[in-house]
């Protein structure tokens, strides 16, 4: 399960950037690069190799006690060659991960990086406007991090006036009966089986842990 995919681009990429290594992949060519060289590699791929389309900027949280914990991932597409390439870089700091911005290469990176910052907490250095994009300004957590429970963490509503008026809060969502996750391994009869919550750490029978 450590397959790699190489093509002409990765070969010449490794010749040009000796620190780049092939990354495990089952579909497209993929490389790991040091985070300091990421922008140079992406710029080279864009200008010299024709990977002109930034498909996605995202990140991986490997787990709380793993180091390096966060990996930023860029997916590029060449509209001339019709091929993809994946570039990944481990972020140096596990508590406060930082990655370089690529907004100067692809303006489309702006909102992708804001989303990655919002949900994973990766700070993109040099980003022109690194605000949250999905959660509201002032939300204290990064919800796609591994330590964040699916149900959520109790916090205040974004609007203080409305919060006072309604006494409503952002609450941890009840997990019993949802979200709807059913086994896909075939041992369960789908017509009988009620989809179960994956996270049953608390539900209507087990109290919520403090």
């Amino acid at each position: 399960m450590s397959e790699t995919v190489a093509d002409d681009t990765t070969t010449s990429l490794q010749a040009k950037f000796p620190s780049a290594t092939l990354r495990e992949s089952l579909d497209h060519p993929a490389v790991n690069v040091p985070v300091g060289e990421a922008v140079a590699v992406l710029e080279w791929l864009k200008d010299e190799q024709g990977y002109d389309f930034l498909v996605d900027v995202t990140a991986v949280d490997w787990a709380e006690n793993v180091s390096p914990r966060f990996t930023t991932v860029w997916h590029l597409y060449s509209t001339a060659k019709h091929t993809y390439i994946r570039v990944a870089a481990d972020c140096a700091d596990d508590a406060d991960p930082v990655a370089p911005t690529v907004t100067q290469l692809w303006p489309a990176a702006d909102w992708h990086e804001r989303e990655t910052f919002d949900l994973m907490g990766i700070k993109f250095e040099g980003h022109p406007d690194l605000r949250r994009i999905l959660m509201w300004d002032g939300y204290p957590h990064h919800p796609l991090r591994k330590e964040f429970p699916l149900a959520g963490i109790e916090t205040e509503l974004p609007d203080i006036e409305v919060a006072e008026e309604t006494e409503a809060k952002v609450i941890a969502a009840p997990m019993m009966g949802g979200p709807f996750v059913a086994s896909n391994k075939g041992e369960m009869n789908m017509t009988d089986a009620e989809p179960r919550a994956k996270d049953e750490s608390w539900n209507e029978k087990l109290p919520k842990p403090e």
Binding site: M135, W136, A151, P158, A168, V170, A173, P174, F180
Partner: protein, 168 residues
């Protein structure tokens, strides 16, 4: 509902121009048959809401066809869709801007209870921030269900002591 009261004598010169009724019944008759909705369309339920308003289902038959995109001109907020915590304060503010009397229909599973979105981002039922009069089940509800909700809301309005509320 509004019928001449046979016990009250009337002048035959103006016969036919006067109908005697209770003020409550008149007020409620007016209110329930011109219930202008505030379409709070936040997700796929809004598509069914549009279907309900269109020719086949024709919510105009119940006097609720005038979708007002200004809260100041509307009577009934139809919350059609998933309310996220980010959106929730805006929903409440729009509700606050509506003039009394006002009602709320929670259309569909998401607006009623958070639906399948048991997550950190979704308000678990719009009744946490606004008082809901009618809940509609379904994901999304069919237009008939929304029409039924509207009829139920009209029944509720017709039963309400409007005059007492006005003078209180």
């Amino acid at each position: 509902m509004v019928s001449p009261n046979q016990d009250v004598a009337f002048d035959n010169k103006i016969e036919g121009d006067i109908v005697i009724s209770r003020l409550d019944a008149v007020i409620n008759w007016v209110r329930s048959n011109s219930m202008w909705p505030m379409p709070m369309g936040l997700a796929c339920c809004a598509i069914e809401l549009m279907g309900t308003a269109s020719a086949r289902f024709d919510i105009a038959r119940f006097g609720a066809e005038v979708m007002r995109f200004s809260p100041r001109q509307s009577d009934c907020m139809i919350v059609a869709g998933t309310v996220t915590y980010k959106m929730a304060p805006h929903v409440r503010r729009i509700y606050d801007q509506m003039a009394e009397p006002k009602w709320v229909i929670a259309m569909g599973a998401c607006a009623s209870s958070g639906g399948m979105y048991r997550s950190y981002a979704t308000l678990q039922g719009v009744d946490r921030i606004v008082p809901v009069d009618v809940y509609v089940s379904g994901c999304p509800p069919r237009p008939e269900a929304l029409l039924d909700a509207l009829i139920k809301l009209q029944d509720k309005v017709k039963r309400s002591p409007s005059l007492k509320n006005l003078t209180a």
